[in-house]
Amino acid sequence: MNTHIKSRVHLLGDNINTDTQCSSKYLPGKDNAYVAQHAFEKTAPDFAARFKAGEVIVAGKNFGINSSREQAVHIMRMMGVAAIVAQSFGRQFFRNCINNGLPVVECDISDIADGDEIAIDLAAGSVTVAARGIKRTVAALPPAVQSILAEGGLIAFLQKHPDWNAA
């Protein structure tokens, strides 16, 4: 996993429910590729068409609230989401991201706009939007969590460390 991410921002709002916006919960029988083409379209029309692999989602509070299916994270990985920066995350969603190797950063997002160029340094714990003079320090993830992210998720981590020793 790259600990330095520099890419374009796709801004989403508060209380985004990833079960309704990025899973097949209400689309029975539809596969991940289909859901990916319609991800977040209810709050951000044409999101999937505009999003390019390697870019970043920036969102408000409670991103991924409620039951939070892991499938939503599988779909975001398929879309190539490089990281998610949010004011706060739903508890289960945050866990699902770590378990699937998708970096998550809890950070004040005020003044960050759609289309901004954002730089995230996961190791040092900083979020920067140079064009707007924004540089925010964020708490670094605990080492055990960083080890899981570094292997690309919990399954890959356990394949390499079945005794959890690197955690």
Binding site: P28, G29, N62, I65, N66, S67, S68, R69, E70, Q71, S88, G90, R91, Q92, R95, N96, N99, N100, P142, P143, A144, V145, I148, G153, L154, I155, L158, Q159, P162, D163, W164, A167
Partner: protein
């Protein structure tokens, strides 16, 4: 500085010493649960891991409760895969009609005081009623536990909630959690553990304590833990649980917040349409018409809920134009209600009693769908727009007592104002 119950239980499972809020620990899990709503994903993750053996699969319950009975081929095939997996790996299987995961887990004796439990469901916090730390996870997590017996946890900060005094007859644990939702808001306790203590908690029977812990999910809580007492220990022993290891918080434990609620001042509460934290006292919305009444779910489908409903509807008939469905939380609850004659009382009153399962909560089996403009009152835990399959209908959430009283009159009604509405747990219905 002392420790909270969450810090003690997670620490004890991660090597012995209590942990501190904010720590990340790798802890031994005592028992796990996977239900059919998440099993397909979990089995994909098992295949992806490709472990040679799954030694802790035998400490895992596979519960067929959400798609019960299965409404389509996809769900029926998931059930088939779950039965085959349970057979092959020695997991405990609860089949269609056995009951909702959060009821069959404690009934099956799979958890005890001091345990660390996980389940693939937000309402896995229910087992905190038995002085356990239990939380909702996903397929990757249960796969890790089946393979290694362990999982990573961030130790949560705790909010201590003291419920002073005694609940009035006709007021239930459901009314306490709805009050909390009104105060903290949905997800207002996100990442946090809750400790519920005080005289009103001690006075509750086990069924109501389970409601209290269960509904913490709507607050976003990671766990909700009650202290153990003689009632807890007797219940666990009667259900064949492992020997209890009760845990209490230290008097000087560190809390992010302390909330005191005077239970004796509470009146029945209702969450209004679409928003679980838009909560008002029933007297404020008395007279709101309803035409669909639902009693059931992991929140309020237990024997005392059914007894309360029967105490109100005994010898009565629900209002003209109202349909009512009662779903016992498990086969054991169903049988107990049958033995006590409650199913006959409810059926005679005009309700339909269904086989145990999650059906009353969400339009997952397709048979609860509401018509345009319908107003449902439900003892469930969620009332998002469209939860029952129609965006043009609405769901109001209340206790089983308030639901039964409202079914009787056809409008939202304070149970304390109808005969039988002041029934209290621990006496015959």
């Amino acid at each position: 500085m002392g420790y909270t119950m969450a810090e003690k239980i997670l620490g004890a499972h991660a090597g012995g010493e209590p942990a501190r809020a904010g720590d990340v620990v790798v802890a031994n899990v005592d028992f796990s649960m996977i239900h059919d709503g998440r099993a397909a994903n979990a089995l994909k993750m098992v295949a992806k891991l490709g472990a040679k053996s799954l030694p802790s699969a035998s400490k895992t319950a596979f519960v067929l409760d959400h798609y019960s009975p299965p409404p389509n081929i996809e769900a029926a095939n998931t059930h088939k895969a779950m039965r085959e997996f349970a057979d092959a790996h020695g997991a405990v299987l609860y089949d269609v009609g056995d009951g909702i995961c959060h009821q069959v887990m404690p009934e099956g004796g799979h958890l005890t005081c001091g345990d660390l439990i996980i389940g693939t469901d937000t309402h896995s916090v229910t087992y905190g009623a038995f002085n356990a730390f239990s939380t909702g996870v996903e397929g990757t997590d249960v796969t890790a536990v089946m393979a290694t017996g362990k999982l990573w946890f961030r130790v949560p900060e705790t909010i201590r909630i003291e419920l002073k005094g005694a609940l009035q007859p006709g007021v239930w644990a459901k009314d306490i959690t709805l009050t909390m939702l009104g105060r903290l808001g949905a997800e207002g306790a996100n990442y946090r553990a809750l400790e519920y203590v005080g005289s009103a908690v001690s006075a509750m029977e086990i069924d109501d304590r389970m409601t209290l812990a269960n509904h913490a999910a709507e607050l976003g809580a990671k766990a909700a833990i009650l202290e153990a007492d003689a009632k807890t220990l007797a219940w666990l022993e009667a259900h064949g649980a492992r020997p209890p290891r009760p845990v209490t918080a230290d008097p000087d434990a560190n809390y992010v917040d302390r909330i005191v609620i005077d239970a004796s001042a509470l009146v029945p509460q209702v969450a209004r349409r679409h928003e679980i934290d838009d909560v008002v006292g029933v007297p404020e919305v008395q007279g709101q018409k309803i035409n669909f009444a639902l009693i059931g779910t992991c929140t309020n489908g237990r024997l005392d809920d059914i007894r309360q409903a029967a105490a109100i509807l005994k010898g009565q008939r629900i209002a003209k134009g109202v349909r009512m469905i009662v779903t016992p939380a498990s086969r054991q609850v169903y049988l107990a209600a049958a033995r006590e004659g409650l199913l006959e009382v409810l059926t005679r009153a005009g309700a339909s009693v269904e086989a145990a399962g999650c059906g009353t909560c969400v339009n997952i089996t397709g048979h609860l769908i509401t018509g345009d403009g319908d107003v449902a009152i439900s003892s469930a835990n969620r009332n998002f727009k469209g939860r029952l399959g129609n965006d043009k209908s609405e769901i109001w959430i209340a206790s089983a007592a308030t639901v039964a009283a409202s079914a009787l009159t056809g409008m939202i009604t304070d149970p304390r104002e109808v005969a039988g509405g002041k029934w209290t747990a621990g006496q015959a219905a």
